[in-house]
Symmetry: C2
Subunit: 261 residues, 2 copies
DNA sequence: ACATGAATATTGGAT
DNA sequence: ATCCAATTTTCATGT
Protein backbone atom coordinates (compact mmCIF):
# COMPACT_ATOMS: atom_id res chain seq x y z
CA UNK A 1 0.00 0.00 0.00
CA UNK A 2 1.72 3.12 -1.23
CA UNK A 3 1.59 6.10 1.02
CA UNK A 4 2.93 9.52 1.56
CA UNK A 5 2.79 11.43 4.73
CA UNK A 6 3.47 14.61 6.63
CA UNK A 7 4.43 15.07 10.26
CA UNK A 8 3.37 18.10 12.23
CA UNK A 9 2.67 20.15 9.09
CA UNK A 10 1.98 23.84 9.07
CA UNK A 11 -1.15 25.19 7.41
CA UNK A 12 0.48 25.82 4.06
CA UNK A 13 1.97 22.39 3.80
CA UNK A 14 -1.22 20.68 4.91
CA UNK A 15 -3.33 22.57 2.39
CA UNK A 16 -0.89 21.75 -0.37
CA UNK A 17 -0.69 18.12 0.66
CA UNK A 18 -4.43 17.61 0.85
CA UNK A 19 -5.13 19.39 -2.40
CA UNK A 20 -2.43 17.39 -4.06
CA UNK A 21 -3.65 14.06 -2.80
CA UNK A 22 -7.32 14.78 -3.37
CA UNK A 23 -6.53 15.33 -7.01
CA UNK A 24 -5.49 11.69 -7.28
CA UNK A 25 -8.23 9.10 -7.51
CA UNK A 26 -8.32 6.22 -5.04
CA UNK A 27 -6.65 8.03 -2.17
CA UNK A 28 -7.39 7.20 1.43
CA UNK A 29 -6.49 10.09 3.73
CA UNK A 30 -6.10 10.44 7.45
CA UNK A 31 -5.34 13.58 9.36
CA UNK A 32 -4.97 13.64 13.12
CA UNK A 33 -4.57 16.57 15.43
CA UNK A 34 -6.37 19.45 17.00
CA UNK A 35 -9.42 20.52 15.02
CA UNK A 36 -12.68 22.35 15.21
CA UNK A 37 -15.56 20.66 13.47
CA UNK A 38 -18.84 22.12 12.34
CA UNK A 39 -21.74 20.38 10.64
CA UNK A 40 -24.98 21.60 9.14
CA UNK A 41 -27.51 19.47 7.37
CA UNK A 42 -29.89 16.87 8.68
CA UNK A 43 -28.90 18.26 12.05
CA UNK A 44 -26.31 20.82 13.12
CA UNK A 45 -23.35 20.43 15.40
CA UNK A 46 -20.31 22.30 16.53
CA UNK A 47 -17.29 20.79 18.25
CA UNK A 48 -14.78 22.96 20.05
CA UNK A 49 -11.12 22.45 19.52
CA UNK A 50 -10.08 18.93 20.37
CA UNK A 51 -7.89 16.11 19.18
CA UNK A 52 -9.65 14.23 16.44
CA UNK A 53 -8.94 11.93 13.55
CA UNK A 54 -10.28 12.75 10.12
CA UNK A 55 -10.70 9.93 7.61
CA UNK A 56 -11.48 10.48 3.96
CA UNK A 57 -11.88 7.22 2.10
CA UNK A 58 -11.55 6.53 -1.62
CA UNK A 59 -15.33 6.14 -1.88
CA UNK A 60 -15.67 9.79 -0.84
CA UNK A 61 -17.02 9.00 2.60
CA UNK A 62 -15.77 11.18 5.40
CA UNK A 63 -15.70 10.68 9.13
CA UNK A 64 -14.16 12.50 12.04
CA UNK A 65 -13.49 10.46 15.13
CA UNK A 66 -13.06 11.63 18.68
CA UNK A 67 -11.00 9.65 21.18
CA UNK A 68 -13.94 7.57 22.27
CA UNK A 69 -16.68 5.46 20.78
CA UNK A 70 -17.31 3.49 17.65
CA UNK A 71 -19.37 6.17 16.00
CA UNK A 72 -17.67 9.22 14.52
CA UNK A 73 -18.14 12.65 15.99
CA UNK A 74 -19.15 13.88 12.55
CA UNK A 75 -19.44 12.19 9.21
CA UNK A 76 -20.73 12.30 5.68
CA UNK A 77 -21.48 9.04 3.86
CA UNK A 78 -20.98 10.68 0.50
CA UNK A 79 -18.98 13.81 -0.15
CA UNK A 80 -19.81 15.42 -3.49
CA UNK A 81 -17.36 18.30 -3.26
CA UNK A 82 -14.43 18.97 -1.05
CA UNK A 83 -12.39 22.13 -0.82
CA UNK A 84 -9.23 22.64 1.14
CA UNK A 85 -8.09 26.18 1.73
CA UNK A 86 -6.35 28.53 4.08
CA UNK A 87 -8.47 30.62 6.37
CA UNK A 88 -6.90 32.87 8.94
CA UNK A 89 -3.67 30.95 9.00
CA UNK A 90 -5.43 27.63 9.42
CA UNK A 91 -5.95 24.82 6.99
CA UNK A 92 -9.67 24.30 6.50
CA UNK A 93 -11.43 21.42 4.82
CA UNK A 94 -14.96 21.87 3.63
CA UNK A 95 -16.92 18.82 2.48
CA UNK A 96 -20.29 19.15 0.86
CA UNK A 97 -23.05 16.73 0.03
CA UNK A 98 -25.80 17.63 -2.35
CA UNK A 99 -28.61 15.31 -1.28
CA UNK A 100 -29.44 15.66 1.45
CA UNK A 101 -27.85 19.10 1.50
CA UNK A 102 -25.25 19.15 4.22
CA UNK A 103 -21.70 20.13 4.88
CA UNK A 104 -18.89 19.49 7.29
CA UNK A 105 -16.17 22.03 7.94
CA UNK A 106 -12.95 21.08 9.66
CA UNK A 107 -10.47 23.70 10.79
CA UNK A 108 -7.07 22.31 11.64
CA UNK A 109 -5.54 24.14 14.56
CA UNK A 110 -2.59 21.85 15.04
CA UNK A 111 -2.25 18.86 12.75
CA UNK A 112 -0.10 16.08 14.20
CA UNK A 113 0.18 14.13 10.98
CA UNK A 114 -1.43 13.55 7.62
CA UNK A 115 -1.24 10.33 5.62
CA UNK A 116 -2.35 9.49 2.12
CA UNK A 117 -2.67 5.81 1.31
CA UNK A 118 -3.50 4.06 -1.89
CA UNK A 119 -5.19 0.83 -0.85
CA UNK A 120 -5.27 -2.11 -3.18
CA UNK A 121 -8.51 -3.95 -3.79
CA UNK A 122 -9.85 -5.26 -0.56
CA UNK A 123 -10.44 -8.92 0.12
CA UNK A 124 -13.79 -10.58 0.36
CA UNK A 125 -15.72 -10.78 3.58
CA UNK A 126 -18.23 -13.36 4.67
CA UNK A 127 -20.58 -12.85 7.55
CA UNK A 128 -22.57 -15.54 9.29
CA UNK A 129 -25.45 -15.21 11.65
CA UNK A 130 -27.56 -12.60 9.92
CA UNK A 131 -31.31 -12.80 10.10
CA UNK A 132 -31.28 -13.84 6.45
CA UNK A 133 -29.08 -16.79 7.39
CA UNK A 134 -31.50 -17.70 10.14
CA UNK A 135 -34.39 -17.49 7.72
CA UNK A 136 -32.69 -19.78 5.23
CA UNK A 137 -31.70 -22.27 7.91
CA UNK A 138 -35.17 -22.39 9.43
CA UNK A 139 -36.91 -22.59 6.08
CA UNK A 140 -34.74 -25.60 5.26
CA UNK A 141 -35.30 -27.15 8.65
CA UNK A 142 -38.54 -25.92 10.25
CA UNK A 143 -38.48 -28.74 12.80
CA UNK A 144 -36.11 -26.59 14.80
CA UNK A 145 -39.08 -24.32 15.43
CA UNK A 146 -41.64 -27.02 15.89
CA UNK A 147 -42.02 -30.68 15.02
CA UNK A 148 -44.11 -31.08 11.91
CA UNK A 149 -44.09 -27.42 10.89
CA UNK A 150 -44.18 -26.89 7.17
CA UNK A 151 -42.94 -23.64 5.70
CA UNK A 152 -45.22 -22.33 2.97
CA UNK A 153 -43.70 -18.95 2.30
CA UNK A 154 -40.62 -16.91 3.10
CA UNK A 155 -40.63 -13.13 3.38
CA UNK A 156 -44.27 -13.07 2.36
CA UNK A 157 -45.32 -9.52 1.56
CA UNK A 158 -48.62 -8.47 3.07
CA UNK A 159 -50.08 -5.00 3.41
CA UNK A 160 -48.65 -4.37 6.84
CA UNK A 161 -45.15 -5.61 6.06
CA UNK A 162 -43.23 -8.75 5.23
CA UNK A 163 -43.89 -11.97 7.11
CA UNK A 164 -40.58 -13.71 7.79
CA UNK A 165 -41.93 -17.25 7.65
CA UNK A 166 -45.45 -18.41 6.84
CA UNK A 167 -46.27 -22.04 7.51
CA UNK A 168 -48.73 -24.66 8.64
CA UNK A 169 -48.43 -26.74 11.76
CA UNK A 170 -49.06 -30.48 11.96
CA UNK A 171 -52.76 -29.79 12.51
CA UNK A 172 -53.02 -27.64 9.43
CA UNK A 173 -53.26 -24.34 11.29
CA UNK A 174 -51.59 -21.33 9.77
CA UNK A 175 -48.45 -20.21 11.55
CA UNK A 176 -46.91 -16.76 11.29
CA UNK A 177 -43.26 -16.71 12.38
CA UNK A 178 -41.39 -13.54 13.24
CA UNK A 179 -37.60 -13.86 13.41
CA UNK A 180 -35.08 -11.86 15.37
CA UNK A 181 -31.36 -12.53 15.35
CA UNK A 182 -30.93 -10.87 18.74
CA UNK A 183 -33.02 -10.48 21.86
CA UNK A 184 -36.56 -9.76 20.78
CA UNK A 185 -38.27 -6.74 22.29
CA UNK A 186 -41.85 -5.62 22.48
CA UNK A 187 -41.42 -4.12 19.02
CA UNK A 188 -41.08 -7.63 17.63
CA UNK A 189 -44.23 -8.62 19.51
CA UNK A 190 -46.10 -5.69 17.98
CA UNK A 191 -44.90 -6.72 14.55
CA UNK A 192 -45.99 -10.29 15.07
CA UNK A 193 -49.34 -9.16 16.42
CA UNK A 194 -49.93 -7.00 13.36
CA UNK A 195 -49.12 -9.85 11.02
CA UNK A 196 -51.30 -12.35 12.86
CA UNK A 197 -54.20 -9.93 13.02
CA UNK A 198 -53.83 -9.27 9.30
CA UNK A 199 -53.62 -12.94 8.35
CA UNK A 200 -56.72 -13.65 10.40
CA UNK A 201 -58.64 -11.30 8.15
CA UNK A 202 -57.42 -13.20 5.10
CA UNK A 203 -57.94 -16.84 6.00
CA UNK A 204 -60.44 -19.02 7.80
CA UNK A 205 -59.45 -21.10 10.78
CA UNK A 206 -56.95 -20.63 13.53
CA UNK A 207 -53.79 -18.57 13.02
CA UNK A 208 -50.87 -19.01 15.39
CA UNK A 209 -48.08 -16.52 15.89
CA UNK A 210 -44.58 -17.57 16.88
CA UNK A 211 -41.70 -15.31 17.79
CA UNK A 212 -38.44 -17.13 17.08
CA UNK A 213 -35.34 -15.57 18.60
CA UNK A 214 -32.38 -16.47 20.78
CA UNK A 215 -33.91 -14.51 23.66
CA UNK A 216 -36.83 -12.25 24.61
CA UNK A 217 -37.02 -9.37 26.99
CA UNK A 218 -39.22 -9.99 29.97
CA UNK A 219 -41.84 -7.37 29.04
CA UNK A 220 -41.99 -8.78 25.54
CA UNK A 221 -42.55 -12.27 26.87
CA UNK A 222 -45.39 -11.05 29.05
CA UNK A 223 -47.02 -9.26 26.17
CA UNK A 224 -46.70 -12.38 24.05
CA UNK A 225 -48.53 -14.43 26.61
CA UNK A 226 -51.23 -11.82 26.99
CA UNK A 227 -51.82 -11.87 23.25
CA UNK A 228 -51.81 -15.65 23.09
CA UNK A 229 -48.71 -15.69 20.93
CA UNK A 230 -45.79 -18.05 21.34
CA UNK A 231 -42.05 -17.90 21.74
CA UNK A 232 -39.50 -20.40 20.50
CA UNK A 233 -35.82 -20.12 21.31
CA UNK A 234 -33.69 -20.29 18.18
CA UNK A 235 -30.00 -19.49 17.91
CA UNK A 236 -28.71 -17.17 15.23
CA UNK A 237 -25.34 -18.85 14.95
CA UNK A 238 -25.05 -22.58 14.28
CA UNK A 239 -22.19 -22.99 16.75
CA UNK A 240 -21.41 -20.88 19.79
CA UNK A 241 -18.47 -18.52 19.40
CA UNK A 242 -15.18 -20.25 19.99
CA UNK A 243 -13.31 -19.11 23.05
CA UNK A 244 -9.71 -18.11 22.86
CA UNK A 245 -8.79 -20.94 25.15
CA UNK A 246 -10.66 -23.38 22.97
CA UNK A 247 -8.94 -22.53 19.74
CA UNK A 248 -5.51 -22.80 21.24
CA UNK A 249 -4.23 -20.69 18.40
CA UNK A 250 -3.96 -17.34 20.07
CA UNK A 251 -2.07 -17.96 23.23
CA UNK A 252 -0.24 -14.77 23.86
CA UNK A 253 3.40 -15.17 23.01
CA UNK A 254 3.70 -11.47 23.59
CA UNK A 255 2.53 -9.50 26.55
CA UNK A 256 -0.84 -10.14 28.07
CA UNK A 257 -2.39 -6.75 28.27
CA UNK A 258 -5.49 -5.44 29.98
CA UNK A 259 -6.90 -2.44 28.21
CA UNK A 260 -7.54 0.67 30.26
CA UNK A 261 -11.19 1.53 30.62
CA UNK B 1 -0.73 15.64 20.74
CA UNK B 2 2.30 13.52 21.41
CA UNK B 3 2.82 10.63 19.08
CA UNK B 4 5.25 7.96 18.10
CA UNK B 5 5.11 6.02 14.95
CA UNK B 6 6.53 3.29 12.79
CA UNK B 7 6.76 3.09 9.04
CA UNK B 8 6.53 -0.22 7.22
CA UNK B 9 7.42 -2.22 10.34
CA UNK B 10 8.24 -5.89 10.34
CA UNK B 11 6.33 -8.29 12.57
CA UNK B 12 8.79 -8.08 15.45
CA UNK B 13 8.84 -4.32 15.54
CA UNK B 14 5.08 -4.05 15.25
CA UNK B 15 4.49 -6.49 18.08
CA UNK B 16 6.98 -4.66 20.28
CA UNK B 17 5.51 -1.29 19.38
CA UNK B 18 1.93 -2.28 20.06
CA UNK B 19 2.73 -4.05 23.30
CA UNK B 20 4.74 -1.08 24.40
CA UNK B 21 2.06 1.44 23.59
CA UNK B 22 -0.81 -0.63 24.93
CA UNK B 23 0.92 -0.68 28.29
CA UNK B 24 0.51 3.10 28.50
CA UNK B 25 -2.87 4.44 29.45
CA UNK B 26 -4.63 6.94 27.21
CA UNK B 27 -3.08 5.79 23.97
CA UNK B 28 -4.88 6.10 20.66
CA UNK B 29 -3.47 3.70 18.10
CA UNK B 30 -3.83 3.36 14.36
CA UNK B 31 -2.36 0.69 12.19
CA UNK B 32 -2.86 0.60 8.43
CA UNK B 33 -1.87 -2.05 5.96
CA UNK B 34 -2.73 -5.49 4.71
CA UNK B 35 -4.60 -7.56 7.26
CA UNK B 36 -6.83 -10.53 7.73
CA UNK B 37 -9.67 -9.99 10.15
CA UNK B 38 -11.79 -12.55 11.90
CA UNK B 39 -14.66 -12.01 14.29
CA UNK B 40 -16.76 -14.31 16.42
CA UNK B 41 -19.47 -13.27 18.79
CA UNK B 42 -22.89 -11.86 18.17
CA UNK B 43 -22.23 -12.92 14.59
CA UNK B 44 -19.15 -14.30 12.87
CA UNK B 45 -17.15 -12.88 10.00
CA UNK B 46 -13.95 -13.48 8.14
CA UNK B 47 -12.24 -11.00 5.87
CA UNK B 48 -9.55 -12.11 3.45
CA UNK B 49 -6.34 -10.21 3.17
CA UNK B 50 -7.01 -6.59 2.27
CA UNK B 51 -5.89 -3.09 3.11
CA UNK B 52 -7.57 -1.93 6.24
CA UNK B 53 -7.17 0.60 9.01
CA UNK B 54 -7.29 -0.52 12.60
CA UNK B 55 -8.17 2.03 15.27
CA UNK B 56 -7.83 1.38 18.97
CA UNK B 57 -9.02 4.32 21.03
CA UNK B 58 -8.15 5.26 24.60
CA UNK B 59 -11.61 4.17 25.73
CA UNK B 60 -10.75 0.62 24.62
CA UNK B 61 -13.03 0.67 21.63
CA UNK B 62 -11.71 -0.99 18.51
CA UNK B 63 -12.69 -0.67 14.89
CA UNK B 64 -11.27 -1.88 11.62
CA UNK B 65 -12.16 0.11 8.56
CA UNK B 66 -12.15 -0.96 4.95
CA UNK B 67 -11.64 1.54 2.14
CA UNK B 68 -15.32 2.25 1.85
CA UNK B 69 -18.25 3.15 4.01
CA UNK B 70 -18.87 4.92 7.28
CA UNK B 71 -19.29 1.76 9.29
CA UNK B 72 -16.27 -0.34 10.15
CA UNK B 73 -15.69 -3.76 8.68
CA UNK B 74 -15.33 -5.12 12.20
CA UNK B 75 -15.47 -3.49 15.58
CA UNK B 76 -15.79 -3.93 19.29
CA UNK B 77 -17.31 -1.14 21.37
CA UNK B 78 -15.47 -2.31 24.47
CA UNK B 79 -12.34 -4.39 24.47
CA UNK B 80 -11.67 -6.04 27.82
CA UNK B 81 -8.41 -7.73 26.89
CA UNK B 82 -5.97 -7.33 24.05
CA UNK B 83 -3.04 -9.49 23.25
CA UNK B 84 -0.46 -8.80 20.61
CA UNK B 85 1.80 -11.65 19.62
CA UNK B 86 3.73 -13.22 16.82
CA UNK B 87 2.13 -16.07 14.96
CA UNK B 88 3.86 -17.65 12.01
CA UNK B 89 5.98 -14.62 11.31
CA UNK B 90 3.01 -12.28 11.49
CA UNK B 91 2.00 -9.78 14.09
CA UNK B 92 -1.41 -10.74 15.44
CA UNK B 93 -3.74 -8.69 17.61
CA UNK B 94 -6.46 -10.42 19.52
CA UNK B 95 -9.13 -8.33 21.23
CA UNK B 96 -11.66 -9.87 23.54
CA UNK B 97 -14.86 -8.68 25.08
CA UNK B 98 -16.45 -10.47 27.96
CA UNK B 99 -20.09 -9.50 27.67
CA UNK B 100 -21.33 -10.25 25.16
CA UNK B 101 -18.57 -12.81 24.62
CA UNK B 102 -16.84 -11.96 21.38
CA UNK B 103 -13.42 -11.50 19.92
CA UNK B 104 -11.71 -9.92 16.96
CA UNK B 105 -8.45 -11.24 15.60
CA UNK B 106 -6.31 -9.18 13.26
CA UNK B 107 -3.33 -10.70 11.48
CA UNK B 108 -1.02 -8.13 9.95
CA UNK B 109 0.40 -9.36 6.66
CA UNK B 110 2.02 -6.10 5.66
CA UNK B 111 1.69 -3.12 7.93
CA UNK B 112 2.21 0.19 6.19
CA UNK B 113 2.42 2.25 9.33
CA UNK B 114 1.53 2.32 13.00
CA UNK B 115 0.89 5.44 15.06
CA UNK B 116 0.36 5.94 18.75
CA UNK B 117 -1.16 9.23 19.79
CA UNK B 118 -1.88 10.66 23.18
CA UNK B 119 -4.87 12.94 22.69
CA UNK B 120 -5.57 15.72 25.09
CA UNK B 121 -9.03 16.19 26.51
CA UNK B 122 -11.48 16.71 23.70
CA UNK B 123 -13.56 19.83 23.35
CA UNK B 124 -17.27 20.01 23.92
CA UNK B 125 -19.79 19.30 21.22
CA UNK B 126 -23.27 20.66 20.85
CA UNK B 127 -25.85 19.16 18.55
CA UNK B 128 -29.06 20.76 17.43
CA UNK B 129 -32.03 19.24 15.73
CA UNK B 130 -32.53 16.08 17.75
CA UNK B 131 -35.97 14.76 18.40
CA UNK B 132 -35.58 15.89 22.00
CA UNK B 133 -34.97 19.44 20.72
CA UNK B 134 -38.08 19.18 18.58
CA UNK B 135 -40.06 17.99 21.56
CA UNK B 136 -38.90 20.88 23.72
CA UNK B 137 -39.55 23.42 21.00
CA UNK B 138 -43.04 22.12 20.26
CA UNK B 139 -43.94 21.77 23.92
CA UNK B 140 -43.00 25.44 24.36
CA UNK B 141 -44.82 26.49 21.22
CA UNK B 142 -47.60 24.04 20.32
CA UNK B 143 -49.19 26.53 17.92
CA UNK B 144 -46.66 25.36 15.38
CA UNK B 145 -48.58 22.09 15.31
CA UNK B 146 -52.02 23.59 15.54
CA UNK B 147 -53.57 26.83 16.62
CA UNK B 148 -54.93 26.53 20.14
CA UNK B 149 -53.28 23.23 20.94
CA UNK B 150 -52.35 22.88 24.59
CA UNK B 151 -49.66 20.44 25.62
CA UNK B 152 -50.60 18.51 28.72
CA UNK B 153 -47.79 15.98 28.92
CA UNK B 154 -44.41 15.24 27.39
CA UNK B 155 -43.01 11.75 26.97
CA UNK B 156 -46.03 10.34 28.76
CA UNK B 157 -45.44 6.71 29.62
CA UNK B 158 -48.32 4.40 28.86
CA UNK B 159 -48.38 0.63 28.69
CA UNK B 160 -47.62 0.43 24.99
CA UNK B 161 -44.78 2.95 25.02
CA UNK B 162 -44.08 6.61 25.56
CA UNK B 163 -46.30 9.25 24.01
CA UNK B 164 -44.16 12.10 22.68
CA UNK B 165 -46.72 14.84 23.27
CA UNK B 166 -50.13 14.59 24.84
CA UNK B 167 -52.43 17.58 24.50
CA UNK B 168 -55.89 18.99 24.05
CA UNK B 169 -57.09 20.87 21.03
CA UNK B 170 -59.14 24.07 21.13
CA UNK B 171 -62.32 21.97 21.35
CA UNK B 172 -61.05 20.04 24.34
CA UNK B 173 -60.39 16.83 22.44
CA UNK B 174 -57.39 14.77 23.42
CA UNK B 175 -54.53 14.85 20.98
CA UNK B 176 -51.77 12.30 20.76
CA UNK B 177 -48.72 13.59 18.90
CA UNK B 178 -45.98 11.35 17.55
CA UNK B 179 -42.74 13.11 16.55
CA UNK B 180 -40.15 12.14 14.01
CA UNK B 181 -37.08 14.23 13.25
CA UNK B 182 -36.78 12.68 9.80
CA UNK B 183 -39.15 11.35 7.19
CA UNK B 184 -41.80 9.36 9.00
CA UNK B 185 -42.51 5.84 7.78
CA UNK B 186 -45.36 3.44 8.31
CA UNK B 187 -43.64 2.40 11.54
CA UNK B 188 -44.38 5.82 12.97
CA UNK B 189 -47.99 5.43 11.85
CA UNK B 190 -48.23 2.10 13.61
CA UNK B 191 -46.77 3.65 16.75
CA UNK B 192 -49.26 6.50 16.62
CA UNK B 193 -52.12 4.11 15.98
CA UNK B 194 -51.13 2.04 19.02
CA UNK B 195 -51.01 5.09 21.23
CA UNK B 196 -54.32 6.46 20.01
CA UNK B 197 -56.02 3.10 20.40
CA UNK B 198 -54.66 2.82 23.91
CA UNK B 199 -55.66 6.32 24.94
CA UNK B 200 -59.17 5.69 23.64
CA UNK B 201 -59.49 2.89 26.18
CA UNK B 202 -58.45 5.28 28.93
CA UNK B 203 -60.54 8.38 28.32
CA UNK B 204 -64.00 9.33 27.19
CA UNK B 205 -64.57 11.48 24.15
CA UNK B 206 -62.74 11.88 20.90
CA UNK B 207 -59.01 11.22 20.64
CA UNK B 208 -57.07 12.62 17.71
CA UNK B 209 -53.72 11.40 16.52
CA UNK B 210 -51.19 13.66 14.85
CA UNK B 211 -47.94 12.65 13.24
CA UNK B 212 -45.57 15.62 13.31
CA UNK B 213 -42.51 15.31 11.08
CA UNK B 214 -40.68 17.20 8.33
CA UNK B 215 -41.91 14.64 5.79
CA UNK B 216 -43.86 11.39 5.41
CA UNK B 217 -43.43 8.54 3.01
CA UNK B 218 -46.30 8.15 0.61
CA UNK B 219 -47.45 4.76 1.96
CA UNK B 220 -47.35 6.14 5.47
CA UNK B 221 -49.49 9.10 4.45
CA UNK B 222 -52.03 6.78 2.88
CA UNK B 223 -52.18 4.62 5.98
CA UNK B 224 -52.63 7.72 8.10
CA UNK B 225 -55.64 8.80 6.08
CA UNK B 226 -57.12 5.32 6.17
CA UNK B 227 -56.86 5.31 9.96
CA UNK B 228 -58.28 8.82 10.29
CA UNK B 229 -55.05 10.13 11.70
CA UNK B 230 -53.42 13.42 10.77
CA UNK B 231 -50.11 14.71 9.56
CA UNK B 232 -48.52 18.05 10.33
CA UNK B 233 -45.29 19.19 8.73
CA UNK B 234 -42.77 20.32 11.32
CA UNK B 235 -39.12 21.03 10.76
CA UNK B 236 -36.47 19.56 12.99
CA UNK B 237 -34.07 22.46 12.60
CA UNK B 238 -35.13 26.03 13.30
CA UNK B 239 -33.26 27.37 10.27
CA UNK B 240 -32.40 25.62 7.02
CA UNK B 241 -28.77 24.62 6.66
CA UNK B 242 -26.60 27.46 5.45
CA UNK B 243 -25.13 27.02 2.00
CA UNK B 244 -21.48 27.52 1.37
CA UNK B 245 -22.25 30.34 -0.96
CA UNK B 246 -24.44 32.00 1.64
CA UNK B 247 -21.83 32.05 4.37
CA UNK B 248 -19.17 33.51 2.14
CA UNK B 249 -16.58 32.16 4.51
CA UNK B 250 -15.45 29.09 2.67
CA UNK B 251 -14.73 30.29 -0.80
CA UNK B 252 -11.96 28.04 -1.94
CA UNK B 253 -8.68 29.85 -1.88
CA UNK B 254 -7.16 26.50 -2.61
CA UNK B 255 -8.12 24.09 -5.30
CA UNK B 256 -11.73 23.34 -6.02
CA UNK B 257 -11.88 19.63 -5.98
CA UNK B 258 -14.52 17.10 -6.98
CA UNK B 259 -14.19 13.88 -5.08
CA UNK B 260 -14.02 10.67 -7.07
CA UNK B 261 -17.03 8.47 -6.62
C1' DA C 1 -27.64 -5.44 34.17
C1' DC C 2 -31.78 -4.80 31.49
C1' DA C 3 -35.01 -2.37 28.72
C1' DT C 4 -36.20 1.39 25.70
C1' DG C 5 -35.92 4.38 21.85
C1' DA C 6 -33.27 7.84 18.98
C1' DA C 7 -29.78 8.35 15.37
C1' DT C 8 -27.08 13.48 10.73
C1' DA C 9 -28.23 6.33 11.96
C1' DT C 10 -25.79 3.33 7.65
C1' DT C 11 -26.43 -0.19 4.41
C1' DG C 12 -28.31 -3.28 1.08
C1' DG C 13 -32.25 -4.79 -1.53
C1' DA C 14 -36.61 -4.33 -3.82
C1' DT C 15 -39.85 -1.60 -6.47
C1' DA D 1 -35.37 7.83 -6.52
C1' DT D 2 -38.17 5.94 -2.84
C1' DC D 3 -39.22 2.76 0.49
C1' DC D 4 -38.27 -0.83 3.58
C1' DA D 5 -36.00 -3.66 7.06
C1' DA D 6 -31.68 -5.46 9.23
C1' DT D 7 -27.65 -4.09 11.90
C1' DT D 8 -22.17 -7.67 15.68
C1' DT D 9 -26.38 -1.50 15.05
C1' DT D 10 -24.26 2.25 18.83
C1' DC D 11 -25.55 5.26 22.28
C1' DA D 12 -27.74 7.73 26.02
C1' DT D 13 -31.11 7.28 29.51
C1' DG D 14 -33.96 5.24 32.46
C1' DT D 15 -35.15 1.58 36.03
Amino acid sequence: MLLSWLEDPNADDLVAFLNDELRQPGRWLQVAGEMEVEYHGRAASMADAGDYLLILKPDASLQIHAARGIKPLNWQPQVDDVHVMQDGGRAVLHAERRSPAEWVRVAFLDAAYAVAMEPRDHGTRVLQGSEADMQRALAANPDVIEEGLEVVDVELPVEVGGIDLMGRDRDGRWVVVELKRGRATHEAVHQLERYVRHVRTLVDGAVRGILAAPAVTEPARNQLHGLDLEYVEVDALPAPPAEVEQTGLFEPAGLTQDVES
